[in-house]
Subunit: 497 residues, 2 copies
Amino acid sequence: MFEDAELGHSVDKDTYEARVPALRSELLNVQFTLKDTRAFPVVLLVGGVEGGGRGETVNTLTSWLDPRHVEVNGMGDPSDEELERPRMWRFWRALPPKGKIGIFFGSWYTLPILQASLVKGAGRWDKLDRRIEEIVRFERMLAEEGALVLKFWFHLSKNAQRKRIKELKKDPHTRWRVSGVDEDYFKKYDRFREVSARTIRHTSTALAPWLVVEGVDRRYRELFVAEELLRAVKTRLESPKVARPTPARPSDAPEVDGRRTLLTELDLTKKLAKPKYEKDLEKWQGHLALLTRHKRFREHSVVCVFEGNDAAGKGGNIRRVTGAVDARVVRVVPIAAPTDEEKAHPYLWRFWRQLPRRGNITIFDRSWYGRVLVERVEGFCSPYDWERAYGEINDFEEEMVNHGIVVAKFWLAISKAEQLRRFKEREQVSFKTFKITEEDWRNRKKWDAYSDAVCDMVARTSTTKAPWTMVEANDKYYARVKVLKTLCERLEKVLDD
Amino acid sequence: MFEDAELGHSVDKDTYEARVPALRSELLNVQFTLKDTRAFPVVLLVGGVEGGGRGETVNTLTSWLDPRHVEVNGMGDPSDEELERPRMWRFWRALPPKGKIGIFFGSWYTLPILQASLVKGAGRWDKLDRRIEEIVRFERMLAEEGALVLKFWFHLSKNAQRKRIKELKKDPHTRWRVSGVDEDYFKKYDRFREVSARTIRHTSTALAPWLVVEGVDRRYRELFVAEELLRAVKTRLESPKVARPTPARPSDAPEVDGRRTLLTELDLTKKLAKPKYEKDLEKWQGHLALLTRHKRFREHSVVCVFEGNDAAGKGGNIRRVTGAVDARVVRVVPIAAPTDEEKAHPYLWRFWRQLPRRGNITIFDRSWYGRVLVERVEGFCSPYDWERAYGEINDFEEEMVNHGIVVAKFWLAISKAEQLRRFKEREQVSFKTFKITEEDWRNRKKWDAYSDAVCDMVARTSTTKAPWTMVEANDKYYARVKVLKTLCERLEKVLDD
């Protein structure tokens, strides 16, 4: 892994000075094409050993590029804001949009490598390998969403590192950079090296490769990084767009026993009389209010997802939840077509940015499931893309749950006849007409395709930790009580744990 | 996951009989197109709960297809032959070639799911999840190599299973099928269900999906499986070939400090005088002979890989190894262009089939590294394909090492000048002319491209458990002793462990 980066690579002054002017203008050129075409984002990670010249190289690189379109993220210790969100939140929020270069100085690799380096024995591999698999999936997602992912690892041999740090310590201008690096640090070098080699090996992929740079010689490492960046961006700009692979099976369900599905088997006649509803509503809203004031609630947060047929009553259900909770801790996020900024990022980005702090509730009125519902049915993305979304969504929700977030997902189901009745009512009642559009009628024509998509969605993403609740919603009273009751039970279970 | 498969799906007799004749002829039709075009292999896995009707469905399906082009693999307990090879060997040997349908009744899922079902507590997930990741990578490789992978899971609810097994037990003709299924088995049902749900979720991908079939009704499950198979094969036959994604970085090395590489830094002047060589050769050959007679050697086996520049002396080196070992336990496998049969399988197939039994040594004269050497340089596969090969090869070798195989890989390096000298000698000495061809001269012209490929290969696939040994081979004596010595040391370490 590190053999090449211990050969003592260097570049002499003349070669360096002869190359730099042309290199800089070529870099600026591709940077401008990238910016103008907004073709893709560049995610550039910088990692490596202490004293390997990461910071200086990043500084040189940014001075050669137009700084307005480069974002350098010095990912040091996480802030309070960040600690209250799942681990990957801080990296998601820093992802560059299409057309920009995002440099991550420190990344999702830093902590796993450091932690594994501190542990002795074979046990450390288990945790590290798990993180490695998560990272591989995450970076694959970035790449499939179009990002150009390049990862530079600055390496020094043990002796080179010792020498370099001695030099840095001698010079009063650079001494601060290596404070805390002592003999103990070198002792850990071997373990750090072993852990990084394994990590780099398992996370080097065609779509997100590691490039190991020898960090001894300033001119060499600068040219190396700049040339690789230049070549990679240039090549990608010139590459034709590649079609998506075809999934192994067609996406519509085969007609075997006449469309008996999870949805057709729901008992939509379930209902609640008004007096009982009013009693139950009060009971469960009160219960929810108490739960959100529970002292352990401050260690958790809640993410609710409301999906359902058009006119199934998402809004009404959401209001019954928010009505029970202190307005300062609850936020409703309605999901419509993505903004320009959101379109310039992977599709999950706009949901990541909305994740609540601890002690808070975020309610998504429609959600990331749009990827496997409307985007699938309308053909806004390829079958391969929404197929991979199931796994990506499971990963996303697992991150939330592992962070202590309660993830409650509701599918509000009404019958086709009930939908027609509500559509017509909306057209006739003046204060409801804003709720019905041409699009609703168009969607209704695709009822079966949507039903297929919903069944697949539930089958693929209803997990023990983040289950779907199917809500029979022909009767609004019944639905609202079921939602509140389910939410209370989910929350209670976590707070009692 | 199993919600849909507990709805009580069934197909009535009339519907079934109306559909089957057409279905059978459609199935035969696509099967013949598949066979004639040899477009791809179909890998069809069958798993699920006891009594779910797996066997009967497979029997019906094969009776509907032309049995000459279907291979049913009842993967029961592994044979002695199989136990002496790495875990996946038995599945590799059973993989269908292009144009055929291979049905795996029991598969690489069986053992991991059973084992995890037997263990209680959270610890069981660690091992299962690791296997899951390996399986995902394996199936991705199959799919990227062109296989159509379909996986059917036959499900029964706990009650349905109990009922079904009671029925089977009553009938003397079917009683044998459920011997050993007792109350204890049902107790384990819940854990089995939880484990399979997790496994299915994490291994359902666009390129290798799981299809969950409700196993209660014979007609339903037969139609379900046959229709899905039909649709999937048909769709794939009609799909256009998709171009490979472009890797994030171009594959040639950037010119930063004038091609200083692992190879250029080798000290090719190293040599051994003849008397010293003869002494050393005897010593290490004797040592190797003893090691292969060590009683613990029977628990291990050895896989040697010889790669190197043309005329670097692979043959001579190999003869020095085989000369030291009992001819009954060593086999040399020369790798030339693949046969038709080999071309009909994933590229690693022809190496898997050659893995030695315990107590044996297999020497590969050229190897799977052809994928990242000649295939890369000559453009026989796309950059994306050889890029993914690094990971696939690491997985392959890890499987060997985990099974107790010593994997020793030698790169024999000579200088360009020394190669020229040897080529000329081969042309002049009559009994050596067979060793030199036009191709050797053609390869020589691509010296730099091959050097890049070799450096990347070593950087990406030299692991702690399966390291590369770079052998300075300008002097044949020096090279031979280094190879023998290295091999002895690797073997010694394992036998002493």
